[in-house]
Symmetry: C2
Subunit: 283 residues, 2 copies
Amino acid sequence: MAQRAAGTLLANFGRSLAFEEKPNLDEVSCVTHLLVRKLQNFIALSEDEQQAILSLPAGSKRLRGRQMIADDKSLKGAICLIEEGFACRHRTLPDGRRQILSFLVPGDLSDLRVFILGRTDSAVSTLSDVSVSVITPEHLLALTERYPRITRALWWSTLVEESITQEWLVNIGQRSALERMAHLLCELYVRLSAVAQVDVYTFDLPITQSELADTLGLSSVHVNRTLQELRRRELIVFRDHVMELKDVAELKKIAMFSPGYLHLRSVPSFDPAQKATPQTGGR
Amino acid sequence: MAQRAAGTLLANFGRSLAFEEKPNLDEVSCVTHLLVRKLQNFIALSEDEQQAILSLPAGSKRLRGRQMIADDKSLKGAICLIEEGFACRHRTLPDGRRQILSFLVPGDLSDLRVFILGRTDSAVSTLSDVSVSVITPEHLLALTERYPRITRALWWSTLVEESITQEWLVNIGQRSALERMAHLLCELYVRLSAVAQVDVYTFDLPITQSELADTLGLSSVHVNRTLQELRRRELIVFRDHVMELKDVAELKKIAMFSPGYLHLRSVPSFDPAQKATPQTGGR
DNA sequence: CGACATTTTGATGAAGATCAAACTGGGTGG
DNA sequence: CCACCCAGTTTGATCTTCATCAAAATGTCG
């Protein structure tokens, strides 16, 4: 099968490439190297393909917190690559109940769906202040038409998103409030580690308890009590929108968390003794 | 944008094509015309492209109910197109709790995900007796490499699946038991109508109440009581695995159902007065 | 300081889970 | 044909988790 072969290829030379180009691109205009890094989780991109992504014309833009991304006219139909901060996808019922469907963290794309589906079926909003790289659909279209392997890699990334959505369905459908919260924290720990946003089990979590409630299908009051229970058990410290996991192994156990569904090539440590993440860079 | 242009094209000639080829293919070996019909929801496929799909070598196969599809060695790595019957995708927690993530009904593909992701992150099982067309990954790969527009259409179909998963997340996260059940029934009504599996608001629903429970994140006892409540209100008749919707408009209202997330080109009637579905064919 | 959002606490109620047992009906084998 | 079994459905009783309502506490920002 095709993707098996690709996996073998990657083991040989993909990883080193990804590391080489990072330093000299970290400071340039756009952050599409985040996208390259992410897609390399799936398939080893050739120099050529990497260069094509890296040289996408992508203007940077800053957005304030609590703002619908689609509302911004300069972003009409554009695809945003999150550079910094948190955003989310969500749907709202006519009577106002709201469900957050996914979090978008640095490196995530905020809306291949419009690109392919032709219309949107869920809103995207910022949670914190966010900076994004803006990619026009035209450029993306050109890219996918020229490079089928990139198309496949982007397709892959949407399927990973679906896998995460499915795990959220398991989470809300089957787990108790405490388990749900623990599971979400484990997921964020792993995903943010993969993009170097975690420092010693600590990461920014710039969202309110009532947004957590809309994420987990709970009331905000119950979210509050669940967080207190986690604090009481000395599993987390959460203050000023900074989350520290004090016992990530226990959280994992409570949540019955297993990171396969995230489809990441490497997963950070869940060993509570070892007080450093294997990823490079801090927050 | 690309998909807008495609939409316009389709309005002109896509529909008629889809109807013409059905009769003469209904009885031949494979049912890939179901796949053509489905993909035409997104993009008008050329004669050439349609023919390429229709002539996929796809052996038919029958499976009994309650059986993991992946377990069948003859299906190792294969992609199954459901021809008849119900299947589902599901995940199970270590302690046995199970969540059904999606239903696969005639016309659905049972696992583009393995094809792209390279491994599976959820199991696929039959619910009823099922017959499938078996497509090998090699043939599918060849098809996508040759026809980029088909690749795009398949990508589209996986995004529609994700849209449905997201709506289920809203369903379980925000709606009450009665609303959840009503919503699921509305969804099945629309999806099954699109593949001519509904006759006057009546369709087969070959699953047990405890499977409904695993779908909706409820206990089976509560599913039973919820169904009784729907019967008491004279909204449904459900016996011997046949579901009849007696007042589809009221169900829609209770569920706050709006079918946009299904991304179907045409949606059956929700008018309770009109006692015939606009779709051709019966069950 | 006062307005406002967010977090926290307490009290009460309801939705739904759990447990247990009875009922139904189809299938099997004697 | 009947007895039995088994899976699924139904019913009742009880218990838990979580929602809801309301108000106080905390913190932030202009």
